[in-house]
Structures are given as structure tokens and as C-alpha cells.
């Protein structure tokens, strides 16, 4: 029962710091004795996390493991938030610079209608459509290029150049071409997500075992069969890498693109407008939405990946 004690100790130290935050706003940092409680809290929280991890790895029930598995990052986030709150309130950081987490949360809840409209505009339209088209085209181009040395030699350098074009540069042009609505944002996302997919898929397609290729060659396989039977399975881990990296890149791209002209809805619009209005709490609430959406889509992809690449050494060794 050693770890339970340690976990409890960690929680107690966290609660203590919370108590300080809520009751001695602004003054406690001037008292050195209380200040030392902060590292105590950090160490306590760390031990809690270590013990929770061990617990999660040894627990037999799947449900319990899931639960504890969520607890650890939650605890980590909680510590960060407490530190954030401590700093903001303790040092009286102006609200126009950095609002406290509690303020952000309140704003999030009270403005949920505006935020959900923005989310629909930016994520459901621009990000999703752009991500799908961008990943699909990167993937297809990788397939074409991998199969044909001619295309590889002709297109790879050009493709490289075109995909090194920074988003911030293309965003205004896309607005020019595709208008103010989400289509131009989706176009930016397409261009942003294309390259990571291309590079990763190519690397993956080339990561096949040469013995496996020999096997297929003895069957006089067509190229598409080689792809299907060996290259694609071997490339899956790489492809998922790209899908995951892209799921975050896409959101950034769409939001950045909205800085260059939009209808008056959308997460990027909200951020830049509210910064101008000094409503930093609203800005951070939007960031919170972005973080939630990004994390959830990433998590979903990771889940799918573990289902599809169960055979890969990186999964089997665990």
C-alpha cells in the first residue's frame, strides 16, 4: 500500500496549494515559507504520477487501467494549471496579458454558443475538409512517385519547393482566389498537410523488408499488389505519424488563414478580434476549444493506429 500513501500525499500537497491560491490571493508569494510549499507540491505531484503509472501498468482490470491512465495526464495538467493560477494571481499579472485559468473556464462556459459556432466554421468545415483532401493527395502523390522514377525525378524537387511555401504567405493568396469563406482556409490546410503526408508515406513505402519484396516478386506481382501486400502495411506506422502531425497542423493552418480575412465567425477570427479588444479570457477560451478538438482528434487517430498496427514491434514490445 506504499503507493496509495504516496498518491494521497501528492493529492494533499496539491489541495494545500489550492487552498493557498483561493484564500491568500496575491500575498502568499511574499512569504518565503509558503513559497517553499510550491516545490513541495511539485515533488509530491510527481511522486503521485509515478506511483499512478506503476499502478496503471500492474492493474488487471482494463477499465481501471483506462481510468488511471487518464488520471496521470489529468494530474499533470492540474499541476500546470495550479502553477499558472499561482503565478497569475500571485504576481498580479494584468488580465490583458494572461488571464487566470479560472477566468478562462468561466468564459468558456458562458460563451459556449459563440465558441461552438466558431468551432463549426473552422473545424467542421475548413479543417476537416482540408485535412482529408491534403492527406489524401499527399498519399496519392507519394504512391505515384514511389512507383515511377520518372515522376520522382521530375516532381519531387518541384513538389518540395511548392510545399516549402509558408502558410502565412499563401493564406492571403488563397483568400484572393477562394474567397473569404471556409474554402480558402481549407485550401491552406490542404497545402499545409500535403508535404508531411508525402514525406512520411514515401519513407514508409521504402521501409519495407527486402525479403518480403522478394517473396512477392516470385509471384510476379503487379505494382499495386506489392503496394497492397507489403508496402502499405509496412508504411502504416509512418502514415499514421503524418495523419497525427497533420491533425494538429491543419488546425493551426486554418486559424492562421483566418487572420487574413474571414466572415465574422471562426476561431481565428475570434482570437485576433478579441486580442484587439483585450478580451484575453475569450482568446484563451478559444485556444481551449482548439486544444480540446486537437487532442480528441489526435486521440482518435492514435486509437485507430493501435488497432491497425498491432503487429509492429513498437507495439508488441510493450
Amino acid at each position: 500500500m506504499k503507493h496509495v500513501t504516496i498518491i494521497l500525499a501528492g493529492f494533499v500537497s496539491l489541495l494545500l496549494s489550492l487552498y493557498l491560491v483561493s484564500n491568500y490571493e496575491g500575498v502568499y508569494l511574499q512569504r518565503p515559507l509558503w513559497l517553499t510549499l510550491v516545490p513541495v507540491m511539485l515533488v509530491g505531484a510527481w511522486f503521485s504520477m509515478v506511483q499512478l503509472t506503476i499502478l496503471a501498468d500492474n492493474v488487471t482490470s482494463k477499465l481501471a487501467e483506462r481510468f488511471i491512465g487518464v488520471m496521470v495526464p489529468a494530474l499533470f495538467a492540474f499541476v500546470l494549471l495550479v502553477l499558472w493560477q499561482l503565478t497569475v494571481t500571485g504576481f498580479s499579472v494584468p488580465k490583458v496579458l494572461l488571464p487566470a485559468p479560472s477566468t478562462i473556464l468561466t468564459t468558456f462556459v458562458t460563451h459556449i454558443d459563440v465558441l461552438s459556432k466558431d468551432f463549426a466554421q473552422t473545424w467542421l468545415k475548413a479543417v476537416l475538409v482540408g485535412w482529408i483532401i491534403g492527406c489524401a493527395s499527399g498519399f496519392i502523390v507519394a504512391l505515384l512517385i514511389d512507383g515511377s522514377p520518372f515522376l520522382q525525378k521530375g516532381f519531387l524537387p518541384v513538389g518540395n519547393i511548392m510545399s516549402s511555401i509558408p502558410i502565412v504567405g499563401i493564406a492571403p493568396i488563397m483568400v484572393m482566389w477562394f474567397g473569404f469563406d471556409w474554402q480558402s482556409k481549407a485550401a491552406v490546410v490542404v497545402i499545409m498537410t500535403f508535404f508531411p503526408m508525402l514525406v512520411n508515406t514515401l519513407a514508409g513505402l521504402q521501409a519495407r523488408d527486402s525479403l518480403h519484396l522478394d517473396v512477392l516478386q516470385t509471384y510476379a506481382c503487379k505494382r499495386h499488389q506489392v503496394l497492397w501486400y507489403v508496402q502499405l502495411p509496412a508504411a502504416l506506422p509512418f502514415i499514421f505519424n503524418a495523419l497525427k502531425v497533420n491533425s494538429t497542423l491543419a488546425l493551426i493552418g486554418a486559424i492562421v488563414a483566418e487572420f487574413f480575412g474571414t466572415p465574422i465567425v471562426g476561431m481565428g477570427f475570434r482570437i485576433s478580434t478579441e486580442v484587439g479588444r483585450m478580451n484575453m479570457d475569450m482568446v484563451w477560451a478559444t485556444i481551449l476549444v482548439a486544444a480540446l478538438a486537437g487532442s480528441i482528434s489526435y486521440g482518435a487517430l492514435a486509437l485507430l493506429e493501435s488497432k491497425l498496427t498491432f503487429w509492429h514491434p513498437s507495439r508488441r514490445s510493450k
Partner: protein, 301 residues
């Protein structure tokens, strides 16, 4: 295996890199001119009609290819602008694109180095500590969902208040964008070793550090280079994003911004072209190191 990827080897011309590249470039140029005409003429016709002017096709064509602020400038307009701002201007001049590329490049490289380093360190931590994996990994991912342009000004303000100006704030934004692909790729790569190889080292009771040096690191190489290529491109984007808020301090980003601000499409496009060239040179550079490392590891072709 070799023959599988050489279905076209009969035709030697088709296999020559310059020929292939040239063909693609010519095709693209033609497409570009067509697109420029299509986009620009639309604009022109609107203008003609608004003013009730009479116009014919030859006038339209010559106007479409010589607009001062076209919707899509033609390659020759961009080429001329590039020539002017690269060769006809002193490198140290603020009107030289070389000067601005230099500014962007320095923060890109600094950010890339910091990002690659941070990314690798995080990956090592995550691979070796279950606690770090469980606690840190989700937040590494979440960090990337925060739109960089939203926090870039804050970073610059905060660092500026701490008297860090110049390339460091921009490099930090580059780092923020570039560490992520490295972390994700390396976590995967460091876990990629063959089970049998891991067991072999277990029989030697090799320390984690030895396992890392002798097995994990070499097997992560393909993943490392794939992510470094993405990271360096992301780093360039970060440097340029970082140049927007500090828009007046030079760099390709500020050229883009001021071009956009004053509607100077030709200026935007030439900055874009330079950025793209810079990006692909950087990616090619990573590719060059990849080849060298591969050769040392006995992987040919």
C-alpha cells in the same frame, strides 16, 4: 526489388533527372501563364465594364500579363522582381531579398536546432519513463493544437519585456513548431527496434543508455530523418510567422506582410518563391545528411 522500381528503364531519356525536371517545369510554366491570364482577365474585364470602356482580346492579353498589381503575377514578372532584388541590389541593403532571407534563415536554423534537440530529448524521456509517457505525451500533443499565431505575439511581448529581441523570439516560435514532428517521429523510431534485437541486448543486461546508443538510436534513423525534413520546413514557417507580429524588423515574413499590406502581389510572390527555395534547400540539406548517414550504416540506394 531493383527491377520492381525500374519499369521505365528501357528509355534512358525518361530516366534522366534534368529531362524529367525540365519537362515538369515547362508544363508548370504553361499552366501558370494560363492561370494568370484566367485570373487576371476576370479582374480586368470587371474594371473595363465598370468604366464602360471598350476592349478587345489583344488588349486584354497584354494587360493581363503586365498588371501592376495582378491577382496572379506571371513567372517573368516574378523573375524580374527576383532579379532586381537579388542581383541588382547590394546584399546588405534592406531591399535585397538575400538580406531578408538571411534574417529568416538565421532564426529558422536556430529554431530548428533547438526544436530538434528538444524533440529528441522529449522522445528519449517518453520512451524511457512510463510516467513521462503517460503524463507528458498528451500535453505535447495538446501544445500543438494551440494556434501559434495566437500566442506568437505574447511570446514576443514577454521575451521583449525580458529584453530578448532579434532572432531569439522568432527562433522560439520555430522551435515550438519544429519540436513536435521530431518528438512524435522519434518516439515511434526509438520503439522501432526488432524485438529480437532488444532481447539480445537484454541478454547482455545492457544499460538503458547502452541500449539507446547501440540499438534504439540506429534503428530510429529513418524516422528521425523523415521528421527532421518536416521539422525544418515547419521551422521556416515558424520563423516567418514570428516575423509577422514584429512585422517591421525585416525577414521574408515582413516582406510578405508588407506586400500583403500594400497589395503588392509581385512582392508577395517573389518573397514566396524565395521562401520556397529556401525551404527546399533546407529539406535537401537534411536529405543529404540522411544519405551520408545511410551510407555509413551500409544502406545503399
Amino acid at each position: 526489388m531493383k527491377r520492381l522500381t525500374h519499369p521505365l528503364s528501357i528509355d534512358s531519356l525518361k530516366n534522366s533527372q534534368p529531362a524529367a525536371l525540365l519537362l515538369v517545369l515547362i508544363a508548370l510554366t504553361i499552366l501558370w501563364y494560363l492561370a494568370a491570364f484566367w485570373l487576371n482577365s476576370d479582374l480586368l474585364i470587371k474594371g473595363y465594364e465598370r468604366r464602360g470602356m471598350t476592349w478587345d482580346v489583344s488588349r486584354l492579353i497584354s494587360d493581363a500579363y503586365s498588371m501592376k498589381r495582378p491577382l496572379l503575377p506571371t513567372p517573368d514578372q516574378i523573375g524580374y522582381e527576383l532579379y532586381k532584388s537579388i542581383f541588382e541590389t547590394k546584399i546588405s541593403s534592406k531591399r535585397s531579398l538575400v538580406y531578408h532571407s538571411g534574417i529568416t534563415l538565421s532564426s529558422t536554423l536556430l529554431g530548428f536546432l533547438l526544436g530538434a534537440f528538444l524533440g529528441i530529448v522529449l522522445a528519449i524521456g517518453i520512451v524511457h519513463s512510463r510516467t513521462l509517457e503517460r503524463s507528458l505525451m498528451p500535453w505535447v500533443i495538446t501544445s500543438q493544437t494551440i494556434p501559434i499565431l495566437a500566442i506568437a505575439p505574447m511570446i514576443i511581448v514577454v521575451l521583449g519585456a525580458m529584453n530578448f529581441t532579434g532572432i531569439l523570439p522568432k527562433a522560439i516560435i520555430s522551435m515550438y513548431l519544429s519540436f513536435f514532428p521530431v518528438t512524435i517521429g522519434m518516439v515511434k523510431g526509438l520503439r522501432a527496434p526488432d524485438t529480437l534485437h532488444m532481447e539480445l541486448l537484454a541478454t547482455y543486461s545492457a544499460s538503458p543508455e547502452q541500449t539507446f546508443r547501440k540499438l534504439r538510436w540506429p534503428s530510429a534513423m529513418p524516422y528521425l530523418f523523415a521528421s527532421l525534413k518536416i521539422a525544418i520546413a515547419a521551422s521556416l514557417v515558424g520563423a516567418i510567422v514570428g516575423e509577422l507580429p514584429t512585422g517591421a524588423q525585416g525577414g521574408l515574413g515582413s516582406r510578405l506582410l508588407s506586400g500583403s499590406y500594400y497589395g503588392q502581389t509581385i512582392q508577395i510572390w517573389s518573397a514566396l518563391v524565395v521562401a520556397a527555395i529556401l525551404g527546399s534547400v533546407l529539406v535537401a540539406l537534411v536529405g543529404y545528411f540522411e544519405k551520408r548517414v545511410n551510407r555509413r550504416m551500409g544502406i545503399t540506394g
